[in-house]
Symmetry: C2
């Protein structure tokens, strides 16, 4: 399959989220106009996005909710389970673990690392916290699919380097720092500082 | 001042974050090349971004860390304090409140709302949780600058509508749902589901 743009993947996720809401209410078909609203785009873009993956929907009848949802889960790689490692076992990590989306989507936490002697060895959401120094050797022998970095900013790049060394190919970074990784490693960052500053900028320049 | 693109605001935030790290280590000047690395861009783009706001830096000497940081804080609207309302007093909200970036950047939590009778009236990080039904009237008489939505997905749009009605002009949305608001209201969303699905997509199509 051709590589599609990040912005397209983002819209597919939004369409899926809308379709799953319709599935839960028993709605069987949905129009491209409704998906467009949920995806923050136009009907034409919805049709273009979906035609990219084959033929869906019937003119005048719209898309089958169940069929399209199944296909999108397939495209987004959500038909399998993923093993996660968390690096950082603080409050933010705790909140993330309790985020409904993780387990629901098949993302299961396999291992947790921290550098704090007060935390190492303790149980954290049913998983024992290990010393971050053991990260490379442990993840090499018991790999994970995705690593979540929830450390302070100044530790993030070093942790990312270790994860890369351990063979991790997908990183979700919550530390307020930009991290770099080789091209074959996908990094997604959630940087709260950037979001807050975008808001303060907007308020400042209204 | 002309309106600048979101992507530029994002880079300015990243430059500022790098400058503040240099400030804390006592570094007095910095090159556009270093800022480029931290901002995930090129030296030429750094110079272009900064020239937009006036003349900074001296050829061959680089930028003054303190001067440029001050100017960027000014541009990003970080020289004032912001009053925040949180809607949703669950674990994710608790983690956010403890996020170093909030208070450090002058974002102070003034009020907290929830719909859960078990939570309403209780103290939450030093602030009493109020009934979300009182949100509009209370925020009209005691306005906030920014509202943070940390509710379940199905409540997010209704909460956003109430916030708009109460006059809020900046919303940070953590609910896993896309919300819409009038053009004069700035909405930033952090959607963990989208980030996870971008990673699963990448792993699926490697």
């Amino acid at each position: 399959m051709r590589r599609i743009a990040d912005s397209t993947v983002r819209r597919l996720s939004l369409y899926l989220s809308a379709l799953e809401a319709f599935e839960s209410t028993g709605t069987s078909t949905v129009s491209s106009a409704i998906l467009a609203t949920r995806g923050g785009t136009t009907s034409a873009q919805v049709r273009k996005d979906l035609s990219f993956f084959g033929s869906f929907g019937k003119r005048g009848l719209g898309y089958s909710v169940a069929e399209l949802a199944t296909r999108l889960r397939d495209i987004l790689g959500l038909k399998r389970e993923y093993r996660l490692a968390f690096v950082g076992a603080g409050k933010m990590a705790g909140a993330l673990v309790n985020y409904r989306g993780f387990d629901q989507r098949g993302f299961h936490i396999q291992s947790v690392y921290d550098s704090d002697p007060q935390v190492i060895g303790k149980s954290w959401n049913g998983v024992t916290v290990h010393n971050v120094k053991q990260l490379v050797s442990e993840l090499k022998s018991r790999p994970v699919d995705i690593a979540v970095i929830v450390t302070p900013a100044d530790a993030a790049q070093e942790v990312a380097d270790r994860l890369v060394q351990a063979g991790v190919k997908a990183i979700l970074n919550f530390a307020p720092a930009r991290i770099t990784a080789p091209a074959d490693v996908t990094v997604r960052s959630v940087n709260l500082t950037l979001e807050l500053e975008a808001l303060s900028y907007a308020l400042q320049h209204r």
